[in-house]
Symmetry: D2
Subunit: 351 residues, 4 copies
């Protein structure tokens, strides 16, 4: 059994990691870390969980490295940066879910994460990316940084256009819509049920840092292929799930048939990316409700002849494929397991 | 008292007209028309309504013209087209809420409304537009066609850019998000609560006919100012309310300050358009929940320096400013009343 | 114009009072009081409101009495108790929406409100009750205490059984279901959207203080008629609106026909109580969504032959008939206006 | 591998069975039956499912018995009655999720299911009950009838009071609250999102047939222990999940401590029943959102001293423990597997 620890155990991504590790045949949950909730039992903090062997939340101590094989950091970026600096050379495998190590370029990083300090050496040690796109490098990584929930959907949407079809995309506009669990459990008015229920809330109408990591990642894959990539983000009345709509205006001609085939081809080997036609089921897809609780990302590509647009829609569960599930998937690849081990649950639909 | 009739009384827009006319000091509800529900009492069909004087739904008869001063058609486009052809010369004022007469260009109309037949004469007789932008012409109109709910928000968003600032907008992408009442009471799986609750449903990812009427209207105001205007529409888990996000890439330079001032100036005299700053209240605005039940359209303009974008967000209640309320507003102007008469209710927030 | 002030202006009941007073033809909003938000503009605090004449929140000063004719206290019970002690003899009419003065019996009060101190004199000065049941006394009151939102629905449900039909009810069980706005804007985990959305939350499964005020009120009307009155309260995924289900086991025989007729008779003169048959409209009623935004209370009485039960269901909007609207209604009666003045809005349905 | 078939594959319970069987290590899905959707692929009908080996919906043919080891009927009661009559002696194990064979007493059955005909012989052949309470008999059953979703929660709530503590309960009132998936995918107005969202809908305020099966079952266990058992049922704005509140007035004295201990003792060996204290986690429990997607039933017992009441609350996912999951659990027991096989998923929280 691979011994796993989770820091940030009292947050939503932490809870999701606990849920998934508890059901994983090859992972054993041996450490739950946290600072403000140290000493509390995990079932006080997560109403759905009551574990047979129930670890209590502990502070991260110096003996941690000896107790675990893999450590998941489901902590805010500044905390992840500090923990990674402290533990990087001591923990066999460290997987960070925060934004601390996503953006490689230091200037770009400082613009979007002004409070998150890190050394260049440490950044260089991290492998970053959607597991589907960096599988080879993951298999040998000891420091792994995973994309944000929106960034995961956007990367899955744009990669086939750029890396498979080789399109140039001078202008890409992304409209992201997310459920409330994306904002965690922060106690502020806009997150209260009376205000969030029924909302269509433009919480980041210009400038979202997830766009920056996607642009940098794709530029490494094919420099210059994307001109401007701008994003706006909205909170809607869902709890789990997000949808990104990438509106791209390619420099080259491309047909609906070519687009759909390219997506099928590009993701042929990837079980968790389901390329779907818009009308293939009784509700329009992709819709995040059709992947709820699962590690799937549903993706649909459409050609808008009138607008000269390519529209790529991607839906995922922000706590699974956008956080905890993707982290397990990365760990599976790292430890030589099938990527779907422990992640085989089908979506819980409707919910 | 101005005698008002409503056809399509059993639908959601019809119900909203009944609600608003019942509280209007100068309108008297004298006729409720419908075909499939003829003979039924209105409170069977609308659970919120129990009227002191309770008309029963009637078929539209030939004596109707003598009984009313204004007739609201809250009917599907094909029905509106037939009724308008039959009643146009006989009813003093006819206000159509459907898409039958919105698009003037016949080829364009046939593309988007292939089943809606109408004569050129009849089309020419109609005045079309958001009341804020066509006030003068409304005052003398006997045939009035009102924009769709999305089109209302888009027009309010784009008009100041084009008509006041004189910007050229080669590319405009619109992302529209709407609550379920926008789809009426159609009995199909995708509208059932289990599937629509929690959904982020891409029901019209490419090609939405509301974009066509907006483009045509703005082109009449300033020919050539908009290049491509493409729209994608999503259903979210709200019941009432919609938000449109217009992402425009202007050919000219423009600053945040100029944009905000232009909107304030353009809508200075218009009580129902509230130009708001994004962070002026405790939830991000504009959000349709902040206008629920009212005739307001909240609008915010933002300059995205990095993306070179102008982002205009507009929120309204699709059943009020997007349907019944705007129809009352048009009637007020037509009959020489203050445009806000009977529409003074403040939003019901939170709900 | 009657000059009105609202203390607790930043809360949800306060916001509702502002909404309703702003649309009231005979009330003029002249004072908005609050402590923690003093100095802030009301439209920062309430996203739906933007008032032409926009008062700023002020602390309650000693000159207040001269500036107003009626003061509404939408404050927590301890604050109401302090403010009432300070202002009772100086403000012409004081209307308290809190629980500070609802329970007359001091021992009973101390049990349910252990932290709310008040003098016997002050309690004796208050008139308490649902306006429909205490109209005569309201007309001359200068101190008015209004029932809680659940208590309003329960009193409207039980009064006809006890006061009209003269039934003895040895056992009454009340199951109350409420939307999230009933809990105000308290920043705690259970109120966050991710946890409250989709919840059926037993937040007060035994012992709810609203039962106490109802039992005491009905006992004053007909001593001994109710044996045990116990209540359980649940939070559901609605924002506005509550439903109470009173399950009563009467000592006497009574038929469905007698029950329905008694309710019709009892509320004949009361515009805001709509006695409805369970199946009279296309959704089952009473349902709070059918009264949303209005001052109506929909009530239905059913005889369950098999269970020997009388089931009374009552639905209202907790922020209107359960708070701000009922307070305006009481003020209308007090100042000799028709009780519905400023409260004529029909429900906003669906929303 | 045990070969499993599902009839009613296009309904919500059918979809849930497919989801669970697909992830079950010892069950193999070999047949999907249905009439109106025969010939359609299952992923057209269930947006969350895309199966590697994807059976198509077929009509139920005469060769079915040879192809399967266990057949699940997720069909309406009249269809189940007909299919059971046809297949009872031919299919090795038949598990019916409908109400066709729940009530043993024929008069009682005819009252609640007037359109469901069945022979006495067939009824006698069925074993009925919550698996936790009839484990021994299940192990040898070839015809199994499972309780309704509400009945499961009620039985789990009342059994310890009657069967362990031996209390006499002259009066029990049950208030049931359910999400919209409980009503299936019926196309009617009250199920549409605009009307169901935000609803607190009294859809069965008196007389619910689930009460009848519970009363009969408990009377077989301890005759005369329950006097009157009456139920009222409400639809709330959740999709999945239900909560039952049993308000019982026992003839004997009993303390909170005795009650909680009795529940712990009674369900000690039952993994899927979690006896919880009301305040043990950060949201009040039991709440169906804390069991979403899982086969758990959370149950809490409370003594209300003032009301002389025992309050038992039980929460479950109506599509899992209330339908498909419980059916798998019964099959596991029947085939000698651990009852939790294939049902180990932890709840998906929050969702």
């Amino acid at each position: 059994m691979i011994r796993a620890g989770v820091v940030g155990a009292s947050g939503l991504a932490g809870g999701e990691l606990i849920r998934l590790i508890s059901g994983h045949p090859d992972l054993e949950l041996v450490f739950l870390g946290g600072s403000s909730n140290a000493g509390r039992r995990i079932d006080e903090l997560h109403p759905g969980l009551r574990l047979a062997r129930l670890p209590t939340v502990e502070p991260v101590g110096d003996d941690l490295a000896d107790r675990i094989d893999v450590l998941f950091l489901a902590t805010p970026a500044p905390v992840s940066a500090r923990l990674a600096a402290r533990l990087a050379n001591r923990v066999p495998v460290l997987i960070d879910l925060s934004g601390a190590f996503r953006i490689r370029d230091q200037r770009n990083h400082e613009h979007w994460y002004p409070k998150v300090e890190r050394t260049e050496d440490l950044v260089d040690g991290f492998v970053y990316g959607v597991p589907e796109l960096i599988g080879d490098r993951l298999a040998e990584a000891s420091l792994i940084s995973l994309p944000g929930c929106f960034a995961t959907a956007m990367t899955i949407s744009l990669a086939p256009l750029v890396l498979d079809l080789g399109l140039d995309l001078p202008t890409v506009v992304v409209d992201g819509k997310t459920g409330s669990s994306g904002g965690g459990l922060q106690l502020r008015s806009a997150n209260l049920h009376p205000y969030r229920s029924g909302a269509i809330a433009p919480y980041a109408p210009v400038g979202h840092r997830h766009a920056a990591e996607v642009a940098e990642f794709l530029a490494r894959g094919k420099p210059g292929s994307i001109g401007s990539l701008s994003m706006s983000a909205y909170g809607v009345s869902t709890v789990r799930g997000l949808l990104t709509s990438c509106y791209a205006f390619p420099a080259q001609e491309v047909s609906q048939r070519e687009l759909h085939r390219a997506f099928l081809r590009f993701y042929k080997a990837n079980r968790f990316v389901r390329v779907r036609r818009h009308t293939e089921t009784l509700i329009p897809v992709p819709d995040p409700q059709a992947v709820l609780g699962s590690n799937y990302c549903d993706v649909t590509v459409l050609h808008d002849e009138e607008g000269g647009r390519v529209v790529v829609l991607a839906a995922l569960d922000n706590l699974v494929k956008g956080a905890g599930g993707q982290a397990i998937q990365a760990a599976n690849i790292r430890f030589g397991l099938p990527e779907e081990r422990g992640l085989e649950q089908l979506p819980v639909v409707p919910a």
